[in-house]
């Protein structure tokens, strides 16, 4: 997975998104399957406004790769228990701004 060019583009895109977002990977790409239909990313935002901006900011990445971008607020992440139930892998720490 780490050798895949998609992974490098994901890390770069996340690093330049400049929002206080917690990023996670989940699904077959991040569990190291040889074959995968999409690349599952979870972004947990602290505000509703951030969720709206994020898909636009990530459009260049999402137009190059089969990224399934799931964007949640922190309250939705708690409500769904998604991070635990889907065994999400933290990708990068929240930016300090």
């Amino acid at each position: 997975m780490r050798n895949d060019p998609a992974y490098h583009d994901i890390v770069d895109a996340i690093d330049t998104s400049n929002l206080s977002v917690a990023w996670y990977g989940f699904g077959s790409f991040f569990t190291g399957s040889d074959s995968f239909s999409d690349i599952d990313l979870l972004a947990v935002c602290s505000t509703v406004e951030e969720t709206s901006d994020l898909r636009t900011k990530m459009a260049p990445l999402c137009s190059e790769w089969p990224v399934h971008l799931l964007i949640m607020t922190e309250s939705e992440a708690v409500e769904t228990n998604f991070i635990k139930s889907q065994l999400c892998i933290p990708l990068i720490a929240v930016h300090d701004e």
């Binding site: 060019p5 998609a6 040889d34 074959s35 995968f36 239909s37 999409d38 509703v48 969720t51 709206s52 994020l54 898909r55 459009a59 999402c62 137009s63 190059e64 790769w65 089969p66 990224v67 399934h68 971008l69 799931l70 964007i71 949640m72 607020t73 309250s75 939705e76 409500e79 769904t80 998604f82």
Partner: protein, 219 residues
């Protein structure tokens, strides 16, 4: 800078080569590759990478390519317009994303061009069999205008998310314009509280399949 098309094609071909029942893939042009399968005929795939697939995008590529059975558009965050779908049908190609291409391979079809996404086939069959539906138009791969007998037409967007979030609802509104109903096509899907609130604010109903069928019969 966008990736060169030949890099995207090679990446998809390499991914598909790892799929069960595929014995190998060969890139045949910057936009196409060939899939060899166990006990099934090989087939050709056209690879695109566009946020919106229209006939204007698709026709020149189809004209320049060898005969293909499947058109795959790589971005998950993308839409197939009515004209793009018609262009694929005109050339007798199946279409979709990488997930649909893999489904077509798993289905072991001799003729991959006959592949139809199960989600759409299920919804369209339900609409055709509904007493209150006179006709429907597929405006995008995930958006339908449903015409009803003696009642207002309803614009419906199919979302297959397991966890349907507020952002999904808002993104669908941005992508497809105003619509009346989110049809949840994932039988295990659940909207979050925020998703319900967002939908309420946009005057959109989020409905699972059975409730959707009931709504079609309600003025």
């Amino acid at each position: 800078m966008p990736r060169p098309p030949q890099d995207t094609t090679a990446w998809v071909a390499n991914n598909i080569a790892q799929t069960t029942d595929v014995t190998g893939t060969t890139v045949t042009s910057p936009f196409t590759f060939r899939v060899e399968r166990k006990d099934r005929p090989p087939f050709e795939v056209l690879v695109l990478s566009y946020p919106q697939v229209t006939d204007a995008v698709l026709n020149p590529l189809l004209a320049a390519a060898p005969p293909v059975s499947f058109v795959v558009n790589v971005p998950k965050d993308s839409v197939w317009t009515q004209s793009g779908i018609a262009a694929a049908h005109h050339c007798q190609c199946a279409f979709g994303g990488i997930a649909e291409l893999m489904s077509a391979i798993y289905n072991k079809l001799d003729d991959v061009s006959a592949f139809v996404k199960k989600e759409n086939a299920f919804v369209e069959r339900g609409l055709l069999q509904h007493d209150c539906v006179s006709s429907f138009d597929q405006e995008f791969d995930r958006a339908y205008m449903v015409h009803r007998l003696g009642m207002k037409s309803l614009r419906v967007v199919l979302l297959n998310e397991y966890e349907l979030t507020a952002e999904h609802v808002r993104a669908a509104r941005t992508r497809y314009g105003p619509f009346d109903i989110v049809l949840m096509t994932n039988p295990n899907g659940t909207p979050t509280k925020d998703a319900k609130e967002a939908a309420k604010g946009l005057q959109i109903a989020i409905l699972p399949w059975r409730q959707f069928l009931g709504r079609l019969g309600t003025p």
